[in-house]
Symmetry: D3
Subunit: 238 residues, 6 copies
């Protein structure tokens, strides 16, 4: 039994609230237990310079944490004047994950910019962000279909993400902050609804991990992400 | 009758939700109609260099808007690498307003850093921030009293703020975004519960204003802020 | 009697020297006692992106203090790599004040950039800047009329500014540095020659102020600014 | 057969030249085919603030590419004034990989800063950097042992890295630039000499990958990295 | 005869006004014709980190041009967020020139920071800055002697600077802006009152220069700087 | 006899290796003893804004040192977020030196960007950079001639550079790091193959220098640079 009463292979309580911010084309509050992230998707005509004239669209992401989303206050990146390495890594990961399931050709020369702003952090902010951002992205793209801008939804399949870790030698799904701090290994899996991976990232925090451990974490992640697909589907069908 | 059905001298629906973020000493969600701001108050031992050794505390504020809190997405200040002039102005205003009602000597050599993060903007984000930040500040300072760090609450009186504007020649209280965009004059009043002002800022957006108009706006503001004190009190007594 | 021998409602010695820098279209040295500011107005064809194609002009301002304009040396903002909050506030204030009296439509798609550089500071740098910048702006716009670029002067009325404060409970006009440091309340009034306000900013530095005090400061400011209009007129008629 | 004549599971020609820069405690030129990286290890007394007083050391890395290490010139990050997201990701990866095999307690309160500067890029710069940086790190730490600063080498085991990708559906080891540009999937494996992983990162560039593909890439990587260990050993024994 | 009526080997009208800014320990307005620079010298206890504990002082300089000191407005370095290459070069040159004549050991562990702010530019701003900064430095150091902080003036000899150029094949002293823009060669000489050089910088703007031309420029410079020493002496004796 | 066995007027061992980086149009490793610099020349169509439409080309340079090119590690300018004053000075010097020998009109509206990256520093990095950069520039321009982009080589004559210093009162050519640190005077000469100067920079590090010393250093420099021209020619003819 884990500190919050979960079993090793269980997700935390997951909630996805759509239309959370009235201005954005897609706007989701995603909760993985006490981790809460606002994901908005904004559609803009045009693409970055390196894509101009190629007839293809773009999906990108920005990620940030409110200063007091964490146990002790973190300084604001805007105040420091630059974005830190961890933020860069996470926003690049979210962007790649979303592009992997978007039909960029069908999207045409327009961009979707997804903002993931963590308002409360308790571990797994990047996996919650990806899982919620997908729903915000679908909502924004649906709007383009409804408005007649796009003939059909440029989404190839769903994408969601979960963390798995090894704590005291045991494989645990969807780590909260306390577990994450104690984990020997931390892996993040980003998977599509056809059971294929778009991103796999594993890091040994204290002790390298074996092939067998990697396989064990993968099994747990696949099960967890399949449940996330159900929750996404249910939210989108409401 | 105004576009949202209010009368000229009415506030929007005001809600103050305490304990909104679990990590912060004080954490409030304040809503002025569709304007929603998360205000957290974080206590830190020590003061900025210019105050060290003077036996006095400090209260300061930072303000930010989520990129998609606005109708069209605004770029992130962290991504631009610097904080804009409007942000500077607002966070300095919030800090001054809170310091005016705090007994900094009683606070001792510690700092309270208040973060006001706008998650949805519909006009009046700075006045909502001040009104909510006061409640977050009181919650954080209460905690210091409860823990025995402070003998009594270092708060001299309450502070709240409201905007008043002139739209089509009429004085309107607590402007929403549409009204604010159309206003000829925009004034912000920050007042304490002894009916005294800590900040008054009036700007003619298109047409300068007369002494009589200034007085009319002040009357409306005083009434509005008195109602805000009731709402703050009610929230704090829950 | 005040420290420099003035009465409560008196301005310091005010001097406005035109054509102070030979290159600029408008160039004024303005002195409010020992406060000395060089105000230049530079005309540029074109307007910022948000105004392009709207047939309207723009007036904006930048403000800076020489490092040793102050009692102890202040570090240079260029060396720190960013502009501070106080500077942002002041340059936005100057820009808004000048735009309020400029007929931007008559100006057409061109910009006037006013630079206010404080070479010696002794309180009231922002109000001196506005008062001097108006004269520099008029000179620059006159040149456009003389050159035939504009059919008439796109100035609707004059603008000037003064500070008023409460020191030891007494209302004093046009505070110098020593008075400003001791003031309980500090208000800046920006008024046009039709006795209307474009900006009012009041801040309680130590003690909130009452409606009566606000009115008393306003009376003093209106008298002071009327004298500034005479001085501006006299300078412009030389 | 691949474009450069290699078989699918073959590494490029790997060279490790030690003592490449005379000033650094460890200094290696590592070549993976036409990819050339200078890796230096610099020892500094003391650790970053978050580790002070904990009796443990630190190993960190910085990564950069010469502007013309690439086919077309890339702008210099120093000129742009900030470090890009990709650079952040890579230097964090190198640092974590080296820390995983270093006995930080034995190292004591001192830091090793590893610089990886790519002078010619042809794919795999991050895996070459890790592989070369390990040798530079060992050289620098050996020096501390020789000087009597450390009683024994604070290295737990070796670490090396290789990329594997899927190009035209085939699993290829150690991709060069042309292959990397065409890859559907790109994985980087960082493994220790006990056949355990410290980092696994897989990204679907165009098409998500299956469990079977992931396993196939892992098998190829393990074989490749074992060969890199031989080459590192041979270099270190010269 | 030159455009302003001077002969080839003549300086422009040179004026040095002391005590120009009331707050600074040394404060000079230096004029080389229409080039006007405010030079202030500020004394601070302590030295930069690299000198701490060595019992020696430091003299350094910062240089800036007001945006409208030039014919067309230049953007403000603080607004751009960084100091340009030309500014860096000039402020390093001024600092080196002043240190060359200062007895840093006698100065003790304190710093003099000289600010050179160009308020009107017409060529030769760096040589005017050095010439004026010397006088400001002497004034600031005299004050330390008067206050008893220093036993005697830590100045070894005087320093001044002048530009010489080749325009249309002729050697001209102390170029104004028009001449400077047309110059084939531009040299700056910084010389001490013992006829020795602390800095010599020559640049071929369009055509390389011969040994003979270099010698001719040197002769003109030496004569010019000797006159500057008289003017400095006269100013300091008033 | 000098510490490395050279005579006062001797250069260190000079090596120029062409085609050092496979991607660049010109790519040279230049060695002045233990000082090693990679110089690449990259051709880009187009010119900076201030030259557009004038039918002339541009040559510019960037300079950087690897963090561990120096005895103790220097922090990376990209990490600090800005380029230091010394770097600015050197890259401006390299650019001016190369432009002086390039026929910019013949080059047409295209730019050559020369990167000088010091991989090992032992004094004289700027003079080695200029000497090597010239060869890289010629190689890049030759390629434009070979491709038929240019009718002939837009090079007017050769350029090279050397340092001369006064150490213990003796004039020494081509200072290494130890000599440079001990030098009383340090001069850099940039000369063309017609024995004319494009840049002369002399700095008294501790003691001002006389006219006679300046002449002595110039004689030594001219002899040294003539030898560098032979070495450049030999390298280019291989």
């Amino acid at each position: 039994m884990r500190s919050d009463g979960r079993e090793a292979g269980s997700l935390r309580g997951i909630n996805i609230t759509r239309h959370y911010i009235k201005h954005a084309e897609g706007a989701v509050l995603v909760e993985f237990g006490d981790t809460k992230v606002i994901c908005t998707a904004s559609v803009e005509e045009g693409v970055p310079p390196f894509l101009r004239g190629k007839g293809t669209g773009w999906v990108t992401a920005e990620y940030s944490m409110l200063p007091r989303s964490t146990h002790t206050r973190s300084s604001r990146e805007a105040a420091r004047g630059k974005i830190g390495g961890r933020t860069h890594e996470i926003q690049r990961l979210i962007g790649r994950s979303l592009r992997a399931v978007t039909d960029l050709t069908l999207l045409g020369e327009r961009s979707v910019l997804v903002d993931c702003d963590v308002i409360q952090a308790d571990g797994g902010t990047r996996t919650a962000s990806i899982t919620g951002a997908y729903v915000a992205l679908v909502d924004a793209l649906h709007l383009l279909v409804e408005r007649g801008t796009l003939p059909s939804l440029p989404i190839k399949e769903a994408v969601a993400a979960v963390s798995v870790g090894i704590v005291d030698g045991k494989i645990l799904l969807d780590l909260n902050y306390v577990e994450d701090s104690a984990a020997e290994v931390d892996m993040n899996f980003v998977m599509t609804s056809s059971d294929r991976f778009v991103e796999v990232q594993g890091t040994a925090e204290s002790e390298p991990f074996t092939v067998e451990q990697m396989d064990g974490m993968r099994v747990a992640a696949v099960e967890g992400i399949r449940k996330l697909f159900s929750i996404q589907n249910e939210a989108l069908s409401r």
